[in-house]
């Protein structure tokens, strides 16, 4: 029984983490039809930036609680710097090309960013720890479920995931810009003809997506050793999540994250040797049964 509860708790925490990363990916795909491989690098950038900022914060002798602000700042920085640079500097010249070509453009970008990270931060693993071993991961204390102890930091992940999902759903359904965005998603040309600034919509969407990748990376940084190559590992997981849920679907990303999270947690606890296998097995099965993912509308046939 306690193992079952452990699976549930681990699964939900892991799902939240996956959702934060995958939601930016699905948002960018939904609006711009770009399956952004470089999302993994933006995630890694978020992690590395937060290591730098937190280290500066700790060495300045400030209160350790402020390291959370540094994590947030890292995510915002990645979003506001890398997002616009990539969208204006590269992607805006690629719109209208084939989806597969766009995937390759972001793959090239991924390669470039991976090395950029190596150049700036080196190739050794980095950790976020203060002078007395403080880490944002352990500062908040622990909670206990069924005799197992978890850091409260996990609750932060769940909270951020819920807040992000809720805020996006609300913005899309209730705000003016959200409704305009839905119009662009539905038909780019008609929206442009009706006077919506499609270019700006893309710009804002990509910046928000990049920021969400940064949030994912920044929140992950305290829990792992930050190493080069972490982006490659994450992006393919995020692909599994958004493909299972249906590319471009917000509830799909939530459901996909939940499925992948729970499957992985169950695999880790019951059959550790099939951990990775199980995730991609589920991805393949969903694609075979529902080629466009679980949440996908009917598509108009084009000749």
């Amino acid at each position: 029984m306690s193992q079952f509860i452990a699976v549930l708790v681990d699964g939900i925490v892991y799902s939240s983490w996956l959702f934060i990363i995958a939601v930016g990916l699905t948002l960018i795909y939904g609006v711009m039809k770009i399956l952004n491989i470089a999302h993994g690098s933006l995630y890694a950038l978020g992690a590395f930036t937060s290591v730098t900022l937190c280290t500066m914060w700790f060495s300045g002798g400030h209160d350790a609680m402020g390291s959370y602000a540094m994590l947030l700042l890292a995510a915002v920085l990645v979003g506001l710097v890398a997002g616009p640079v990539i969208e204006r500097g590269l992607l805006q010249f690629m719109y209208g090309k084939d989806e597969v070509v766009l995937v390759l453009v972001t793959y090239a970008l991924f390669l470039i960013l991976e090395d950029l990270i190596k150049l700036v931060w080196g190739v050794d693993p980095l950790f976020i720890t203060g002078p007395n071993g403080e880490s944002p991961y352990s500062l908040l204390g622990n909670f206990e479920v069924a005799g197992l102890t978890y850091p409260n930091y996990n609750l932060v992940l769940v909270g951020v995931a819920a807040a992000t999902g809720g805020a996006l759903a609300w913005a899309l359904a209730k705000t003016r810009s959200g409704k305009l965005l839905l119009a662009v998603i539905h038909d780019r040309e008609i929206s442009a003809a009706l006077g919506i600034n499609v270019g700006r919509t893309y710009f804002v969407t990509f910046t928000i997506g990049a920021m969400l990748a940064g949030v994912g990376g920044a929140l992950t940084a305290p829990t792992v050793s930050v190493v080069t190559g972490m982006g490659a590992e994450v992006i393919v997981l995020a692909f599994a999540v958004v493909v299972i849920g249906g590319l471009g679907s917000l509830p799909g990303a939530a459901l996909g994250a939940l499925i992948v999270g729970l499957v992985r947690a169950a695999a880790v606890h019951y059959f550790p040797e099939v951990e990775l296998f199980s995730i991609y097995f589920v991805m393949a099965v969903v694609l075979i049964l529902r080629p466009k993912g679980l949440f996908s509308g009917a598509e108009v046939r084009k000749i």
Binding site: L35, I37, L90, F93, E99, V100, V101, V103, L104, V105, Y107, A108, L109, F110, L111, I112, E114, D115, L116, K118, L119, V123, A232, V236, F239, A240, V243, L247, P272, E273, V274, E275, L276, F277, S278, I279, Y280, F281, M283, A284, L287, I288, P291, K292, I303
Partner: protein, 311 residues
């Protein structure tokens, strides 16, 4: 069989490469060897691209080919190079024949994603299989060719010569296939599937066939690479490897069977020089090259030749 200018050229290039083997410096032989193994895989990617589909999981067959060859050495105790390459080709072909039944219905990004999922399934299995060395993989060596023992000091040149033979044979046969009635369907499918169906050809069968052929080529390439490098690990089916194949196919262009082999050589040259001079920025060099090619040469490097001829 059709004897045209290109098939003769393929054979000639093969013969020249064979003859050059003993005289070239060893770095050039290594470079050519890796490029030929790689190029054989990219030949298959070219066939898929001509059909209008892009696989983001061809590392699956590359890895299967390598592991089939490796297992023959490791557990089968039959380290014969011809058998190893044959095993790689057959294993990849059989798996592709089954998976192809599913994949033949998919297009675009969904084809890419499902093939990615399949390749990552193999990755997930291999990294947890301790008897195959998990993430470390294991060493592979070919000791005989068709039953004849390879002498210690001639291993490199024998492996190179066989890579030349297999790559030349693959390119020759693929060229024949592309020029055949069945092969020409590829371009038609890319242009308009509905019309192909109206003309009475089965799109699904053609896509399935091309998929299996491309997998066999990847299996051959993987087995050759295993023998050439002497070591295999699950990274061969990790997604960046599959991405690299697509990358080289884009870099090369799909105009001729020479394109993938030449493209693979250019790619390996860029990689080894960039790696030599700045190990931390070689991926960046590749990424920038890829962007430049996609922006300025959408037809790949091969279009440089055809353009000149047209002018």
């Amino acid at each position: 069989m059709r004897i045209d200018r290109n098939s003769i050229a393929v054979v000639l290039v093969g013969v020249v490469l064979l003859a050059l083997g003993p005289v070239l410096p060893s770095w050039a032989v290594s470079l050519l060897n890796v490029a030929l193994c790689y190029g054989t895989v990219v030949l298959g990617m070219m066939l898929l691209m001509r059909t209008g589909i892009v696989s983001f999981g061809h590392g699956l067959y590359y890895c299967l080919g390598a592991y089939a060859a490796g297992l023959l050495d490791h557990f089968g105790k039959m380290p014969d190079m011809l058998l190893m390459v044959g095993a790689g080709a057959v294993t990849a072909g059989l798996v592709a024949a089954v998976l192809g039944l599913l994949l033949a219905k998919y297009r675009d990004i969904f084809f890419a994603m499902l093939s990615l999922a399949f390749s990552m399934i193999l990755y997930g299995l291999l990294v947890k299989t301790a008897s195959l060395g998990s993430t470390d993989g294991f060493n592979v060596a070919a000791k005989t060719v068709g039953g004849i023992v390879i002498a210690e000091d001639s291993v490199r040149i024998v492996v190179y010569s066989l890579a030349v033979v297999f790559a030349t044979l693959s390119a020759f046969l693929l060229h024949q296939y592309l020029a055949s009635h069945q092969g020409r369907l590829a371009g038609a499918i890319k242009d308009n599937e509905l019309r192909v169906e109206y003309m009475g050809a089965s799109v699904k069968a053609a896509v399935h066939r091309n998929y299996v052929i491309s997998a066999v080529l990847a299996g051959i390439g993987g087995a050759l690479m295993a023998v050439n490098i002497g070591h295999i690990d699950p990274e061969m089916t990790y997604w960046p490897q599959s991405g690299e194949f697509v990358f080289v196919a884009i870099l090369s262009g799909t105009g001729s069977v020479f394109a993938p082999l030449g493209g693979a050589l250019v790619f390996e040259a860029i990689r080894s020089f960039a790696y030599e001079y700045s190990p931390n920025t070689w991926q960046m060099v590749l990424g920038i090259t890829m962007l430049l090619v996609m922006i300025f040469l959408p037809g790949g490097l091969w279009s440089l030749f055809t353009r000149k001829r047209g002018a």
